[in-house]
Amino acid sequence: MLLLTIVETSKFELRLSRQSTIHYITNAKNFSNLQLMPFSKANIMAQLQKEILPLQGNKHIAGVGDFDAGLNLIKHAFPNASFPLGAIHEFFCNGAEDVSATGGFISGILSAIMQTGGVSIWISSSRMVFPPALKSFGIEPEKIIFITLQKEKEIFWALEESLRCEGVAAVIAETTGMSFTASRRLQLAVEQSRVTGFIIRQNPVNLATACVTRWKVTHLPIIAHDDLPGLGYPRWNIELLKVRNGTPGNWQLEWAAGRFRHSYKLASINLEKQRKAG
């Protein structure tokens, strides 16, 4: 049965890569080695999964090891346990509040991408982003070019051109409508150039897109009331609705001291405090 599974998977590989014989032999070899180990099936599956990933456009970028974009806490949701660079990520939003929450979350990821001195482009129809705020997310605001375009068609033209350019670290676009074809074009563009794209979609109509991940970031209301004054760190409820070859999930994160961290820690501290007081 086990052997059969491997043979089947290898056949799948054969269709995909036409290098079946070599793969088959290596797999068989692995199999003989792995047979001795416990959990060998899971190991083989992981091995094969890794080989399939590049064929699906999720290529490993040279020089970038395990890139988690500061999202160390949730990296196991992604294929290869690394945040997919050179891919299109889409974010669903309802209203200006969601857009700002999403903008904050993207800025956190962007700071990790731009750490090597890259430049990013932010395309939108109305320029609302306030550059000084980006500094608190660890981004040099002067390294972001803002492009304001009115027409949807122009936004996509600029987006595609920017994503094709290898001299750019990441491109963020705010738009509403995106057809499946447009998303395919963008995905093909980034597969060539290895630029990371973030698309913020307000009130999306078309849900069928070729994006690698789909997120929904919303503000996280305070769970436990405490007497501490002030707002504290930005907190978000992050839903990973879809991720190709990964596991979707839901997390509560906050941005503190230049990185993401779980938000419930704060809540648990408060609970402890309450217990002590009680």
């Binding site: 200006a96 509040e97 857009v99 700002s100 929450a101 903008g103 904050g104 979350f105 800025s107 090597t116 001195g117 890259g118 430049v119 109305s126 320029r127 609302m128 982003v129 306030f130 550059p131 000084p132 705020a133 980006l134 500094k135 608190s136 997310f137 605001p141 002067e142 390294k143 972001i144 070019i145 803002f146 492009i147 304001t148 375009l149 122009e154 033209w157 600029a158 051109e161 920017s162 350019c165 290898e166 001299g167 750019v168 670290a169 919303t218 503000h219 996280l220 209301p221 305070i222 009331h225 004054p229 002030g230 707002l231 504290g232 930005p234 907190r235 941005w255």
Partner: protein
């Protein structure tokens, strides 16, 4: 590099011109006259009339009293400018840089030209001979500065060459009038016994300035080459320019594309050879019916990359309407800058603002959408939120001040603060709830106030007290109250926090 200038003096410009046109005037004294303050004034006199004591500036009636039966012709306004311009344009055969020097001269920047005539002597000879043969009385001088050339042309012999670095010695014996001064200054200098330039040069400049004004110091410095003098050439020089005449008028888009490609292929190697890159370029199509179609592009960094420039033009090529056909294509590069290709390879930065691929992308986007859609922001030294950022003028511009981190700022700011209804306890507490776009938000947590005063030297108005608030859904807003409680005040929403 040492510059060389030629000054040509036309002593009898207008009268010579009349003699050329009416040869019978050659042997008669005649003057040109024009009305001024209700009488006729002599504006020019020919050599014969001058020898008999009739000068420019005297009243015509006096002149006719001096020479009985004096022939006079009405002067034409603007004649001198017209003649000088025409001669200056003709002088482009000697140097590309020719300028008019009113009222009676032409100045040529001849740096690097005389050796083509076998030296300065034959060069100047050729200029003077050609003009003399046409019938003009001409005197010319060549020197390191415009001022010195002007001086020797008018106060030296017919052919005057001041060799390189000999300017001061050559100027010593010349009269003070050779410094291009006003008549009043010349008169007062002469009155003081300062007849030659020699004593002037050794005098302290401050004393001269105090006595005769700044003009004399400026002229002296210009003559000695201590001060730059700007000339306006009759034909602006555009060294980077390519032409492609067509045997048959071009009407198709493919034809225009080929023409552009050929012009770029010709221009870019030239730029590369001179280690230049173009910043602006202009592609013109001269149509059969006399109209000119034009496409302009601009780049963020000097570039001589054919493919990149072609891509920039390509977006705009559709705007060219060939009509009945285009018979001549011209590619101009009005603005070029130094651009060293090898050096760029060495210092090429991957993925920064200096990345060539990035700046080419920005050129491409600018070409398509115009520069007013693309912004980059730098911090400015203002607390007022709208003024705390300023658009950068170029990709290379650096920030003069640091980004402020001590106060929280929302990631999204409304272009204009919007009015909201607020319930807030007096005097300085944050609001309890507010209504924005019809939705009531109950405020759970708040930070503030952060007071930002108006910058009175820029704008008058009320200060703002900013609060960062969080509603029960966790959404965070940036609200402010403009004005004090006890006076007229209003609440606004200005942004959304991340």
């Amino acid at each position: 590099m040492c510059k060389r200038f030629v000054s040509i003096w036309f002593r009898y410009l207008t009268t010579d011109w009349f003699i050329i046109r009416q040869p019978h005037l050659r042997n008669t004294p005649f003057v040109l006259s024009a009305p001024s303050h209700g009488r006729m004034i002599v504006t020019a006199a020919n050599a014969l009339a001058e020898s008999q004591g009739v000068y420019r500036g005297i009243v015509l009636a006096d002149a006719r009293a001096i020479i009985s039966g004096l022939h006079f012709i009405n002067d034409r306004p603007g004649l001198v400018e017209k003649l000088l311009k025409r001669i200056a344009e003709w002088c482009i055969r000697f140097t590309p840089f020719a300028a008019i020097d009113l009222p009676d001269g032409i100045i040529l920047d001849v740096t690097g030209c005389p050796h083509l005539w076998g030296g300065e002597d034959p060069y100047l000879n050729d200029i003077v001979n050609r003009l003399s043969r046409r019938g003009y009385h001409v005197q010319a001088g060549i020197a390191d500065t415009i001022g010195a050339a002007w001086a020797v042309a008018r106060f030296g012999k017919q052919l005057n060459i001041i060799s390189k670095g000999q300017t001061i010695e050559a100027l010593f014996p010349l009269p003070v009038a050779a410094l291009r001064l006003e008549a009043v200054t010349i008169a007062s200098l002469n009155k003081l016994g300062l007849l030659q330039i020699k004593p002037l040069i050794s005098m302290p400049r401050s004393a001269l300035r105090r006595r005769f004004g700044n003009h004399i110091v400026q002229r002296l410095n210009q003559a000695l080459g201590l001060e730059e003098e700007i000339l306006q050439p009759v034909q602006p020089i555009e060294p980077y320019n390519e032409r492609l005449p067509c045997i048959e008028p071009i009407v198709t888009a493919a034809g225009i594309e080929i023409a552009l490609q050929r012009l770029l292929d010709a221009l870019c190697p030239r730029l590369q050879q001179d280690q230049k890159g173009l910043r602006t370029a202009c592609f013109k199509g001269y149509r059969v019916d006399g109209k000119i179609d034009q496409v302009d592009i601009a780049t963020n960094r000097p570039s001589c990359n054919v493919n990149h420039l072609y891509k920039l033009f390509e977006i705009k090529l559709q705007t060219i309407e060939p009509g009945l056909g285009i018979e001549l294509f011209v590619l101009d590069a009005p603005k070029v800058e130094d651009h060293v290709a090898e050096q760029e390879k060495l210092w090429e930065v991957k993925g920064g603002l200096d990345d060539i691929r990035f700046s080419e992308l920005i050129d491409h986007l600018t070409g398509k959408f115009g520069s007013n859609t693309i912004h980059r922001f730098l911090p400015d030294e203002h607390y007022w939120p709208e003024r705390s950022i300023k658009p950068a003028s170029s990709l290379q511009e650096k920030a003069t001040t640091e980004w402020r981190l001590n106060t929280p700022r929302p990631i999204q700011v409304l272009p204009k603060p919007e009015h909201i209804e607020v319930t807030a306890p007096v005097p300085d507490y944050p609001p309890m709830n507010f209504r924005y776009k019809g939705k009531l938000h109950k405020i759970i947590k708040a930070d503030g106030p952060e007071r930002i005063e108006q910058e009175w030297w820029l704008q008058e108005g009320q200060h703002r007290d900013y609060y960062a608030v969080e509603d029960e859904e966790g959404c965070r807003y940036w609200l402010f109250r403009s004005g004090h409680y006890d006076e007229k005040y209003e609440w606004f929403i200005h942004g959304f926090f991340a």
